[in-house]
């Protein structure tokens, strides 16, 4: 697969310029050494899964590491393009290519993350769709840098902060290598960790060092040649620059939070954990800032045209928030209201634009950002309203929880080809709807591994999630019943995001 891609790129490469191509080929050679590693990594990861739990043989699981590494590898292209640009200058043609490849790798990486998180949600014990697990964070690092990079391409086209774009392009790729180093060397503890292999780690680390220092050194020597302009205050470019800063600060938070345990381990000989708490408390305000920035960008022309109104608007906003703060709403409720508000405003704007001009100017952009706002909303709702309860039920029993009634209909033992299973059939009633769910507990004949199959019933607003626990002496079973809100919204908005990324990428090229 990697090799296939390799040939494919080379073809794409040729038209750019012969001189750069020769230089890039050299990088490909170096890069080929590197490709042997992604191969090893995804060959081991599913293995690790299988000996943990036979049910990890899931198509979603099997596919997500290769997709992920394709994303990593694709960032190598943008990297080499950026390097080429430093020598040959950034022409229009190069920007076109950069945009295409940056978009494509961004898409691939996002897809991989989405696949992994869907799978993790279904599999018990993997902490739901996102758990700020070190390996998840490591994947997020190049993704965040890539996001900043893709955005920076928009303004650097006009030679604004060209060197900043170059830096982002380089660091995205470097973070991908760093990611594979950290995952492979096993210096972090994670659900993804498997038998560590220090020698591979040393190799990857030195590779990282070589790439980092050579590319940054090159950048250092060339940085004077890269003439950069500076954006104007309150221009679109300025807002994009702020977006970049916020994204990189998020990156820094993730980076610090993930690697800090290694630092304490080396210097204080102490293991510690940095949990979801840290990340979400620091990152969520920044996400709101990002959303706010996009909102400002959408209305930039209006804002500029009418300075008085802008001030008035800001004043009104500040007043609303002061009022909201004075009420005893929890921060999460407050942010929910904020995100809802933004979503409504953006939707209105899109609708107005659609009705007046019959067309939205840059459709994928509006759609992509809308989906991000939606995603944020869904995640917030999920955090705020999801509830769970542990109950003890006998067949025929029912329990009332959060307006729904859970009934355990039957428990049967069934023998299957490679496992015996306890099948529990539930029905959940809410007002007039009835849903049936099946949750299982399986004992595998080979190895005697016991696994729990969660019963999930999905609707757009909420999911019912049931885990069958242990049997008690009196024939009742412990059951964990959760109502998770917004899960479907999370998937839907991610898919919209993916589609708009893909559309935005290929649109320009007419493929």
């Amino acid at each position: 697969m990697v090799l296939n891609n390799w040939f494919f790129w080379e073809e794409k490469w040729m038209p750019i310029s012969n001189a750069t191509a020769a230089f890039i080929l050299f990088f490909y050679l170096l890069f080929q050494i590197f490709t042997s590693n992604p191969f090893l990594t995804f060959d081991v990861e599913p293995n690790n899964g299988t000996d943990l739990n036979p049910l990890l043989q899931d198509p979603l699981l099997a596919i997500h590491p290769p997709v992920l590494f394709t994303g990593y590898v694709l960032y190598a292209i943008t990297f080499s393009l950026v390097i080429a640009g430093m020598f040959r200058g950034f022409g229009k043609e190069l920007f076109k290519k950069l945009k295409f490849w940056a978009g494509l790798s961004w898409f691939t990486l996002t897809l991989a993350i989405l696949l992994g998180s869907i799978w993790a949600y279904y599999e018990l014990g993997w902490g739901g769709y996102w758990f700020w697990d070190p390996v998840e964070n490591i994947v997020l690092l190049p993704w965040l840098a890539g996001t900043a990079f893709t955005h920076s391409l928009i303004y650097s086209k006009n030679k604004i902060l060209l060197s900043w774009m170059v830096f982002l392009g380089i660091s995205t790729f470097l973070l991908s290598i760093l990611g594979s180093f950290i995952v492979r060397s096993g210096i972090l503890n994670s659900v993804h960790s498997f038998a560590s292999d220090p020698s591979r780690g040393v190799f990857l680390l030195s590779l990282f060092a070589i790439f980092a220092f050579s590319s940054l050194g090159l950048f250092f020597s060339k940085s004077v040649l890269l003439k950069s302009n500076w954006p104007e205050l309150m221009s679109k470019q300025y807002l994009l620059l702020l977006n970049n800063i916020v994204l990189l600060v998020i990156l820094l938070i993730v980076f610090l939070g993930t690697l800090y345990p290694i630092v304490t381990e080396v210097f204080y000989e102490q293991k510690l954990s940095i949990g979801p708490d840290y990340f979400s408390s620091l990152i969520s305000p920044l996400v709101f800032v990002l959303i706010g920035l996009f909102l400002a960008e959408q209305f930039l022309s209006n804002l500029k045209a009418n300075k008085k109104n802008t001030l008035l608007l800001l004043g009104v906003f500040a007043l609303i928030f002061l009022v909201l703060f004075s009420t005893d709403l929890s921060p999460i409720n407050l942010s929910l209201i904020f995100v809802c508000l933004v979503l409504v405003i953006l939707l209105m704007r899109a609708l107005v634009e659609l009705t007046t001009t019959k067309d939205i100017k840059i459709m994928h952009k509006v759609l992509g950002h809308l989906s991000v706002v939606m995603l944020t909303l869904a995640v917030l709702a999920n955090h705020q309203y999801s509830e769970s309860i542990d109950v003890k039920l006998k067949p025929g029993d029912q329990v009332e929880f959060s307006g729904s009634t859970l009934k355990l209909n039957s428990i049967n033992i069934e023998g299957k080809e490679n496992f015996d299973t306890v099948v529990a059939r539930f029905s959940v009633n809410e007002t007039s709807n009835e849903k049936s769910l099946i949750s299982e507990k399986r004992v595998y004949k080979v190895g005697g591994v016991i696994t729990s199959e969660t019963g999930i019933s999905t609707s757009i607003i909420k999911d019912y999630h049931i885990v069958l626990g242990d049997r008690y002496q009196d024939g009742s079973w412990s059951i964990r019943f959760s109502i998770n809100y917004g899960i479907m919204m999370i998937w839907i908005s991610s898919i919209i995001l993916l589609l708009s990324m893909l559309y935005g990428t290929i649109r320009r090229h007419g493929y």
Partner: protein, 130 residues
């Protein structure tokens, strides 16, 4: 999509009341205490697993720990006391919650960089545009 939004808003308006039954596993806890139990088990790592908190893991020790925490809440332990007890028994590693006071750098460094860089960029922009 607008429909969805309305529904979410409806949910915001209705803060759904808890209703409990006798079959509840932790029947000796009131709703407030159950929330604490969920919070605690979300923030304590399962000591046997490579990652994952005790509420999401299906290792037997996680269940035991959750039961013990329920018991401790029932006796009247505060969240802090329970975290302390777990930390004493298993070490820092199992505490997923990050304390602001113990890790000031972790919280302050990103914030400072954010503020400094925004200020820098803005002043630079203003200077250049003049």
């Amino acid at each position: 999509m607008k429909n969805l939004l309305n529904i979410f808003k409806l949910i915001v308006a209705l803060s759904l009341p808890f209703s409990l039954c006798a079959e509840n596993l932790y029947s000796n806890l009131n709703p407030e205490e159950l929330k604490r139990l969920n919070y605690l088990s979300d923030n304590i790592r399962c000591p046997k697993c490579s990652y994952g908190n005790i509420s999401s893991s299906n290792a037997p020790i996680s269940k035991d720990l959750k039961e013990e925490i329920a018991e401790l809440i029932n006796i009247g332990y505060s969240n802090e006391e329970i975290f302390d007890l777990m930390e004493k028994r298993y070490g820092d590693y199992v505490i997923l919650k990050t304390d602001l006071d113990d890790n000031k750098t972790l919280f302050l460094v990103p914030l400072m960089i954010l503020i400094i860089s925004i200020l820098l960029v803005t002043t630079y922009t203003i200077k250049k545009s003049k």
